[in-house]
Amino acid sequence: MSALPIDSSSAPRDTRPPTVFPVWLRVTHWLNAVGVILMVMSGWRVYNASPLFGFVFPEPLTIGGWLGGALQWHFAAMWIIVVNGVLYLLANLATRRLFTQFFPLSPRSIWRDLRSAFRGRLSHDDLRIYNAVQRAAYLFVMLDLVVLVLSGLVLWKSVQFPLLRDLFGGYEIARRVHFFAMTGVVAFFVVHVVMTVLVPRTLLAMIRGR
């Protein structure tokens, strides 16, 4: 507990740029990415076995080879999504990152940043700070993945989780919720990847941490 003023010039100065993404975040991010891609591609194959709507997904975009294989992938990758997702949320809460990174957030700030973004005037100088559109998008995908997992749980075990089944309005409605929540994740994924291509520094930061 020294009261001496710290001489910053004598201290070894860290010249590296500050950490943007802590290691736990990077690990859970990439595991989640793998999990989501496997879930979506195998899920499309399962969908194709009995299409809800008037189209099927192109087979080269699916994995599993047939319904049984796709289901094996789906019910293996679900463990990645769930276990990794719970760890991510716990770390997010424990570090208070959830509150500091994503809030405050208001419809007005989202609208303003969205307009600046389309005019190419949104700054990405400091990757540690999310703009309002990012905040909204990341919160959306977190919530959407929770809905995907819960509706998926109803499809997987509709008899064993009666409360959850009733909450989703029964098996057949849960099936549609699951589909549209998937659509939400895929839409997020597309925008997310496009933004990464536009600002590739974010990809490096998500790999190296800064």
Partner: protein, 261 residues
């Protein structure tokens, strides 16, 4: 400290500037660019061409062992107090869809006059059961949702003997692990004992109040609203109680064995 985006400094560097800057940087760093390119294409390729992932035997083995693990998870989740929802008859799906590993034109027709349900394995009384004798047992019916592994579902009404009562009647060893079924259409499957004893598991002889039609599994279908469609055998000719894992027609090809709902 919470930083509001509203308090951010004015946009000093716009997206356009940054994109340009990034582009310049990557021109300066060919190794980095190559790394990124390779990373993207390798990752993309291995993810897009699912067959490359599937073909590996070790991947197959891993998937199968996870499926076995999921069997155990489902057995742990299974609660015999959880009943599948039942529906009013007005909600029955008409016509109820036909489903099998073959087309409806290949449906097997079992002769009721010579039919006998064969029993084997860990059962006390192995006397085969004729249809007349089965019909003398107390009957019950229920309207439940049939959920197919493909995702679709349909509501139907099945009637028959509570399977737990039947297992009592034949002196089955209820501490055994499995009950297996052999069917007239060469289909076969097996279930766990807790599901066999579930109050909604019925050895059905009727569909919608009339004798089970051939396309729904005459003379007998085991109906379990707690399991997916492929676990519900039709045209049952023989059943056996065992501790040796019996597998099943689809299960041996990769469908999850427990197949719970």
């Amino acid at each position: 400290m919470i930083r509001s985006s509203r308090r951010l400094p004015p946009a000093v560097a716009s997206d356009a500037d940054l994109i340009l800057r990034d582009a310049m940087k990557s021109v300066d760093a060919p190794t980095r660019r190559r790394f990124l390119e390779r990373g993207l294409t390798l990752g993309g390729l291995s993810l897009l061409s699912g067959c490359a992932l599937d073909d590996s035997e070790s991947v197959q083995a891993a998937l199968v062992s996870i499926s076995r693990f999921n069997d155990r998870v489902q057995a742990a989740i299974f609660d015999d107090k959880n009943l599948a929802p039942t529906y009013p008859e007005s909600m029955i799906t008409r016509p109820f869809p036909f489903n099998a590993y073959y087309g409806v034109d290949e449906v097997r027709h079992v002769d009721p006059s010579t039919y006998k349900l064969e029993l084997s394995g860990l059962v006390g009384d192995k006397t085969p059961w004729t249809l007349d004798r089965l019909n003398t047992l107390p009957q019950t019916s229920q309207v439940t949702r049939h959920i197919c592994v493909e995702g679709w579902s349909a509501i139907g009404k099945w009637g028959g003997i509570r399977f737990a009562d039947f297992l009592d009647r034949i002196g089955a060893d209820k501490t055994a692990k499995y009950v297996g079924f052999k069917c007239a259409d060469d289909y076969y499957t097996s279930i766990d004992m807790p599901t066999a004893l579930h109050p909604q598991t019925l050895l059905t002889l009727t569909y919608d109040g009339r004798t089970l039609p051939a396309e729904y599994g005459f003379p007998m279908k085991l109906r379990m609203p707690t399991k997916l469609g492929y676990k519900n055998p039709k045209h049952i000719m023989a059943l056996f109680v065992t501790n040796a894992f019996p597998g099943g027609y689809w299960e041996d090809q990769g469908y999850n064995w427990f197949g719970g709902s």
